[in-house]
């Protein structure tokens, strides 16, 4: 029975995501009706529509979807590796590392008039660099660990470095001028903002590589629901699998946050929603999680830019606004079924 239903559910999710993407592409300061969006998408629309769709809206829509997928996958993998359903990618220190990169960038490249001396586009590179440096720091510490490589130790290093990074960000924001603080705050809350196709390409490439790896070794992800000793006895090299999935989590998180900032709750809540509507032991759980992550950030970003125009709200504020109560509801519901 579930063998027929599961693919249908995945197809339904994909359809949801596609419809939302088309609607989101139409919405904005110059709203396009659906027929003009689809015409432009298939290359039959007017030249102006094509510019709006292909240059302005679609890259942003695609980036939101892909970043959502990356964060959601990172969350699902981390929850499996730690065997902890409330683990979120932000505990690995990657997000805070990216934040240090962004705030340092705003600090270094702001002039006396509080304006940026270089294109804001470089902010993404700064975020990626920050994420990379912190990922490398965590990796070096883990490799030097006298107790040997273990996921728990890696997470502890991540948490410690994240605390250090948070302190650095706070200090830089307080000591810096207001412009810097405001700009940094938007990033820290998470926001998709204007996007270029090559940003989309970067995240897409990362996701494709991650997907290929997961297709090859995906069965191990499921096996990790067992305690490590039992999983090992069924034939999994548990230590190696944990390290591989942690590395994937780091890369996916770094990719996503360098593009859309520290969007909260998606990595935590997308796997929970997937569990609820698809089941975490059903085939396609990771695919479902990824699509839900895409829907969440795309939905949040679309609302963020259409709720109070011309002001753009940070998408991360909306994911937290919806995500936090949803998470509380899930927690309460869980207690009722197991209590």
């Amino acid at each position: 029975m579930s063998r027929i239903v599961a693919p249908l559910r995945l197809a339904g999710l994909a359809a949801c995501l596609a419809v939302l993407a088309v609607v989101a592409t139409g919405l904005g300061s110059s709203a396009l009706p659906l027929d003009r969006v689809t015409a432009a998408l298939f290359g039959r629309g007017e030249a102006m529509d094509a510019v709006i769709v292909w240059t302005l809206r679609l890259p942003r829509v695609a980036l939101a979807v892909l970043a959502g997928m990356a964060l959601a996958l990172a969350g699902a993998l981390l929850q499996r590796v730690t065997r902890n359903p409330v683990a979120a990618p932000s505990i690995l220190g990657i997000t805070d590392g990216a934040a240090v990169g962004v705030v340092a960038f705003l600090w270094i490249f702001s002039d006396d008039a509080n304006a940026l001396a270089v294109s804001i586009h470089w902010q993404r590179l700064a975020a990626a660099l920050g994420a990379l440096v912190f990922a490398a720091l965590v990796a070096v510490l883990a490799l030097l660990d006298p107790q040997g490589l273990s996921p728990l130790r890696i997470i502890l290093y991540g948490i410690s470095l994240a605390a250090l990074a948070k302190a650095a960000v706070t200090l830089m924001m307080i000591l810096g001028p207001v412009y810097r603080a405001g700009q940094a705050l938007t990033w820290l809350t998470g926001s998709v903002g204007a996007a270029h196709w090559h940003d989309v390409g970067t995240v897409a490439a990362g996701l494709i590589v991650a997907t290929l790896i997961l297709v090859m070794v995906g069965r191990r992800v499921r096996q990790l629901v067992l305690d490590p000793e039992t999983a090992q006895a069924t034939g999994v090299s548990v230590g190696r699998a944990q390290l591989l999935f942690l590395a994937l989590t780091v890369v996916l998180t770094a990719l996503a946050v360098s593009q859309v900032g520290a969007v909260g709750f998606v990595g935590l809540i997308a796997p929970h929603i997937a569990r609820l509507i698809h089941g975490q032991f059903t085939g396609g759980y990771l695919a479902a999680t990824a699509m839900i992550g895409g829907v969440l950030i795309l939905g949040a970003d679309t609302l963020a830019r259409t709720l109070a125009p011309p002001v753009e709200l940070p998408a991360g504020a909306l994911t937290a606004l919806v995500g936090a109560p949803l998470f509380l509801w899930l927690l309460l519901k869980e207690r009722r079924t197991h209590g």
């Binding site: 305690d227 039992t230 069924t234 034939g235 975490q280």
Partner: protein
């Protein structure tokens, strides 16, 4: 002596500096039901974990089926030796059926789904443990005995010729404990699978084991056929408690009666 299932040579194993096994030499025969007995902390579980490659000894060598443990690929080893540890754990919402399927990991390749042979192995494991009617139930809603049988079903589904069970009768009432050991006996006698069990109950060991390894303070006190190892004198010495073996009419093995204060 029969062909060896595993061989420990001069094995010392430690946890955080505490020695759990000290220079142990052990040959386990193939095709039998072997029971590890001994007081708490005497090294039984550690020996089992070392034999399955779950704990790396600080000294000595371990062989499984004549090959050093390090030569085995993880999946290959899992196909040869299945093991159920003392307190296995999985999320409570996992169904019995899904749990049992996880036992098939070593047999599955690439991204193909469940094949017919996987399904058959799972169905047989469920039937053998009398869990078929509970296949769809989440393991969080099973009784202690049912849960233990679900885990044993997962271990059996792994289809390994050698099965290690660490205290399989834990959490089970007397009748369920006998059921599990009857199942072990059936799988041993009809399918020729070797079993190594950690057992606390000496009467269960006496009744079901062909071969006993008696552990005491990180050493092997005695190893051999059940009746030659489990003697009144040895049991008294190892457990520090008086013991009589009493023949009861109609029972083919003597009953172990422990006599505290003697």
């Amino acid at each position: 002596m029969a062909e060896a299932l595993t061989r420990l040579r001069n094995v010392t194993a430690r946890y955080d500096g505490v020695t759990a096994l000290e220079t142990v030499d052990l040959n386990l025969p193939k095709g039998l039901i072997t029971a590890f007995c001994g007081p708490n902390g005497s090294g039984k579980s550690t020996a089992l974990r070392v034999m399955r490659g779950l704990h790396v000894p600080s000294m000595g060598t371990v062989e499984v089926a004549g090959r050093p443990l390090g030569d085995w690929m993880p999946r290959e080893l899992a196909k040869s030796v299945a093991m159920l540890s003392q307190s296995p754990d999985a999320p409570p919402e996992l169904t019995v059926q899904d749990l049992v399927r996880l036992g098939r990991f070593a047999h599955q390749r690439g991204f193909r789904g469940q094949r017919a042979e996987d399904r058959i192995a799972c169905e047989r494991a469920l039937a053998a443990t009398e869990m078929t009617h509970l296949a769809e139930r989440p393991i969080g809603r099973l009784s202690g005995g049912q849960l233990q049988r679900a885990w044993i079903a997962m271990t059996i589904a792994q289809d390994a010729p050698n099965i290690f069970l660490d205290e399989p009768t834990n959490h089970l009432d007397v009748s369920h404990a006998f059921e599990v050991l009857e199942l072990v006996k059936r799988l041993n006698r009809s399918e020729g699978r070797s079993f190594v069990l950690v057992l606390h109950d000496l009467n269960m060991a006496m009744r079901y084991a062909d071969h006993i390894v008696l552990f005491d303070e990180a050493h092997v006190e005695a190893a051999g056929p059940t009746r030659t190892v489990l003697t009144e004198r040895r049991i008294s010495e190892v457990f520090g408690i008086g013991c009589k073996l009493i023949d009861i009419e109609g029972q083919d093995v003597p009953t172990v009666v422990l006599l505290p204060g003697q």
